[in-house]
């Protein structure tokens, strides 16, 4: 992630409609990658880099001159649709492009053309990964920038369909079955969201967030709409107990697809939920506590499952369930005194989890490639010394557990500080419990990497340093380093923060 200095930019870029471009560029690239399969890798990586550059330029512009709104079609709200960029959106844009770039580089390696020996299924993975990723990127960027609930609905559909495509990329029956459940769950989620939009429009005649945010009074219709939309998003985010689709979908996909699905896709709907919660509606304490309790349930349930499962990929997938629960605790804290701090912590946890989890899935992919399996039990019997992939896994685990100085530590600390300032000791306890549980389940694979007492025969070293291990390692380093270099992201987050503008604060 490059944080360009605004003063070095050409004045031309300062006037470009970057918000539209970060949505349109990946769209056009997706069509191009679908049209020209032979050039798909180049198009995919090039477009991702370009979108990353545009996102960074946008973030730099934001730091220099504050939040931006572009009115599409020249029509102002409420008639037209506006793209709104604030610090939160810009941070997500840059993170998405950055993680996408690293995962993309890993994918270009793991889906490399194998010539004549290539099976049709492998060829399809290699060719279709790129259009799907670019569609996913377009959908995510559209989601981050959208300030209109109906537009959010369509963006969610783009995101959901391309995510299903990534989940079934391997073409195996287990992946297809999981993908079908994922598709049904996602469709139910977006239809519930649409039902909420329905009630919003019926009651207020508005769908843009600015008009909706200006309404002070929570009428029954508005509460109903909020509950329906949050329920739909909870399915898509896999908040306990609506997480039923996630473990199968994430653990049966190929490694780069799993990395994208768990790092970025579940965060898209979480982002929308957080935005609706903080920016638009006056949060009601009861509903927030309910979501917090579901989050606590997710931490406990996800961790217990992660301790019981036998497959490494499944462990990582259940850890996502637990981590989503941890982030969702923020819903119970935003209307308290430490609300802003807790919110910053949640955002930082989203970023930290994105980097750490993508690193972890890529590392697990590499480990499974080495060993030929991802069984946790057999891990103890493998005579292989840990290599770079295992190191990447362990570094990512450091950030997930929240050890200093990782980004996970910073996020967790901010969330904890917010809870302590609000004297919400219940949530503090839940967070501490979650941390201990995450140590417990993450130690299972790590001890498997390091124990050789059950190995019969000599312990061997991994053959050599493979360039393919660099990408998970890079992501894991990002997950740590973002804790050290937090000044820029945090000051970006403050741009247009909903907590700074007094009239939006409930």
């Amino acid at each position: 992630m490059i944080w360009s200095d605004p003063s070095t930019m050409t004045p031309e870029i300062m006037t470009w409609d970057l918000p539209s471009l970060v949505v349109i560029l990946p769209l056009l690239a997706a069509v191009a990658a679908f049209l020209l399969p032979s050039a798909a890798v180049g198009i995919g990586l090039g477009a991702t880099a370009l979108v990353g550059a545009a996102s960074s330029a946008l973030a730099a512009r934001l730091l220099a001159s504050g939040p931006e709104i572009s009115h599409l079609g020249g029509w102002t709200v409420p008639l037209g649709i506006a793209l709104r960029v604030d610090g939160f959106a810009a941070l997500m844009l840059v993170t998405t492009a950055g993680i996408g770039m690293l995962v993309g580089l890993a994918a270009s390696r793991s889906f490399a053309a194998k010539g004549a020996t290539e099976a049709p299924a492998e060829e399809r993975q290699r060719l279709f990964f790129w259009p799907l990723w670019l569609l996913l990127l377009a959908g995510l960027n559209a989601l981050y920038l959208s300030s209109d609930v109906f537009n959010i609905y369509i963006s969610l559909e783009i995101l959901g369909l391309s995510a299903v495509g990534l989940a079934v990329l391997s073409g195996k029956a287990a992946a297809l079955r999981a993908g079908l459940t994922y598709l049904f769950a996602g469709l139910l989620g977006s239809l519930l969201f649409l039902l909420g939009v329905d009630y919003l429009y019926a009651a207020t005649g508005r769908v843009d967030l600015a008009s909706l945010g200006a309404i002070d009074e929570m009428t029954p219709a508005l509460s109903m709409a909020l509950v329906l939309m949050l329920a739909g998003l909870a399915i898509k985010t896999a908040l306990f107990p609506l997480h039923f689709w996630l473990p199968a979908a994430h653990s049966n996909a190929t490694a780069p697809a799993s990395a994208l699905l768990s790092a970025l896709v579940v965060k898209g709907s979480l982002y929308v939920a957080l935005r609706l919660w903080v920016d638009v509606f006056a949060p009601t304490a009861g509903l927030g506590t309910l979501i917090g309790l579901l989050g606590a349930g997710a931490i406990v349930w996800g961790s217990i499952q992660a301790m019981r499962v036998d497959r490494l990929k499944l462990l990582v997938a259940y850890s996502t369930v637990a981590q989503i629960g941890l982030i969702c605790l923020v819903f119970a804290l935003t209307d308290e005194i430490g609300g802003e701090t807790a919110w910053q912590g949640a955002v930082y946890l989203i970023l930290a989890h994105a980097a750490a989890k993508s690193a972890m899935f890529l590392a697990v992919g590499r480990i499974a490639e080495h060993l030929g399996h991802d069984s946790l039990e057999r891990l103890h019997r493998e005579p292989l010394r840990p290599g770079m992939a295992q190191v990447a896994f362990a570094l990512a685990a450091v950030s997930l557990i929240g050890l200093p100085p990782s980004a996970g530590f910073l996020g967790k600390w901010l969330l904890l500080e917010g809870a302590m300032r609000a004297d919400a000791w219940l949530w503090v306890g839940v967070m501490v419990l979650g941390t201990m549980l995450s140590v417990a389940y993450l130690m299972r694979p790590i001890s498997g990497f390091l124990r050789f007492d059950r190995v019969e025969g000599p312990v061997i070293m991994p053959s050599r340093l493979d360039a393919a291990d660099l990408w998970p390692l890079g992501l894991a380093v990002v997950a740590i380093a973002m804790g050290l270099l937090a000044a820029t992201p945090l000051s970006l987050l403050a741009v247009g923060s909903p907590f700074v503008v007094p009239e939006v604060v409930p």
Partner: protein
């Protein structure tokens, strides 16, 4: 007025009963046919509520193309699970009642909240009508879809494209399923009906500027033409058709997004058409969308990337 009330009550009752009957049908085929009939009734209800544009789309897409897709899939699966409903595990009584209770509470709350909304509720209708004159079209729905909220429509076209990508990724078409060859009655029918359908599609596209109709309805009718061609094997896609097919699938997205970039280059907002030429812009975009939507719907019905070799002569 009383007669209208009777009409409304019968229609609504029929719709709800059809939905129940379709979803409770033991036989999969019965479920699909009832669902298609439900589409007819729902379209009638929407005509009744002064939503002819939507009724048109529902008639073309909702019941027509969705019905054909369901039928195709049901046939495909018939070999293994003779009675789909028979394979449907009967839920335990407790679970059934539990779900029933939850759903009753939810629908009750939905209805209660709806009643509480003060009427007349505010809406965007007046704003739309006030700006209709400068939108370039006279049909307010087309104005919303292709001018005021054109970005939504662009993303919707992207959804169609994404689905094509997902469907093609699943694998190639199987060499030749044992579908029957249709006889002379079909060819007589096709010769008569297909040209008329193409004509109607063009008519709907042109109509969209000032009356119910537009790119989606036209695209759906044109897509139906494609489906009939595929079903009757008047056209069998081969591997050589992949590139042209890709081009047409992408046309909607590229055309629409390209128009947006062009407006940016002109110095306007993204998708902000020059006011004096808005009609032309919208018509060109709609024409591209129609072709792309039609091809996409037909491609989705075909359901896979074409794989056969091109044959020189028809094997009819």
């Amino acid at each position: 007025m009383l007669l209208w009330l009777v009409f409304d009550l019968v229609l609504i009752g029929a719709i709800v009963w059809l939905a129940w009957a379709a979803l409770a049908a033991r036989d999969g085929f019965e479920m699909i046919v009832l669902f298609m009939v439900l589409g007819l009734f729902v379209a009638l209800a929407w005509v009744r509520l002064q939503a002819p544009d939507v009724a048109l789309a529902e008639a073309a897409v909702g019941s027509g193309i969705t019905g054909a897709l369901l039928l195709k899939t049901w046939r495909h699966r018939r070999g293994r699970a003779a009675g789909d409903a028979a394979a449907d595990a009967r839920p335990s009584r407790a679970l059934g009642f539990g779900v029933m209770g939850l759903v009753t509470v939810l629908t009750g709350m939905l209805a209660a909240v709806l009643v509480l909304i003060p009427r007349p509720a505010p809406s965007l209708a007046e704003t739309v009508f006030a700006n209709l004159a400068v939108s370039g079209v006279d049909n307010p729905v087309t104005a919303v879809l292709l001018n005021f909220r054109a970005y939504d429509t662009l993303l919707e076209v992207v959804v169609l494209f994404a689905v094509v990508v997902v469907v093609w990724l699943l694998g190639d078409a199987e060499a030749d399923r044992r579908a029957p060859r249709l006889g002379s009655i079909f060819f007589g029918f096709a010769r008569l009906v297909l040209p008329v359908m193409v004509l109607i599609a063009g008519y709907l596209l042109w109509l969209g500027g000032f009356a119910p109709g537009g790119a989606f309805q036209a695209g759906a009718v044109l897509g139906a033409v494609g489906i009939v061609l595929l079903l009757g094997r008047l056209y069998t896609p081969t591997a050589a058709d992949r590139l042209p097919a890709r081009l047409v699938f992408g046309l909607g997205t590229v055309g629409f997004a390209g128009a947006g970039l062009a407006t940016l280059a002109l110095g306007n907002a993204f998708l902000g058409y020059p006011p004096e030429a808005a009609k032309t812009w919208i018509l060109v975009i709609e024409a591209m969308l129609t072709v792309s939507i039609a091809a996409t719907l037909a491609g989705l019905f075909f359901g896979a990337a074409p794989s056969g070799r091109p044959t020189r002569e028809s094997d009819r």
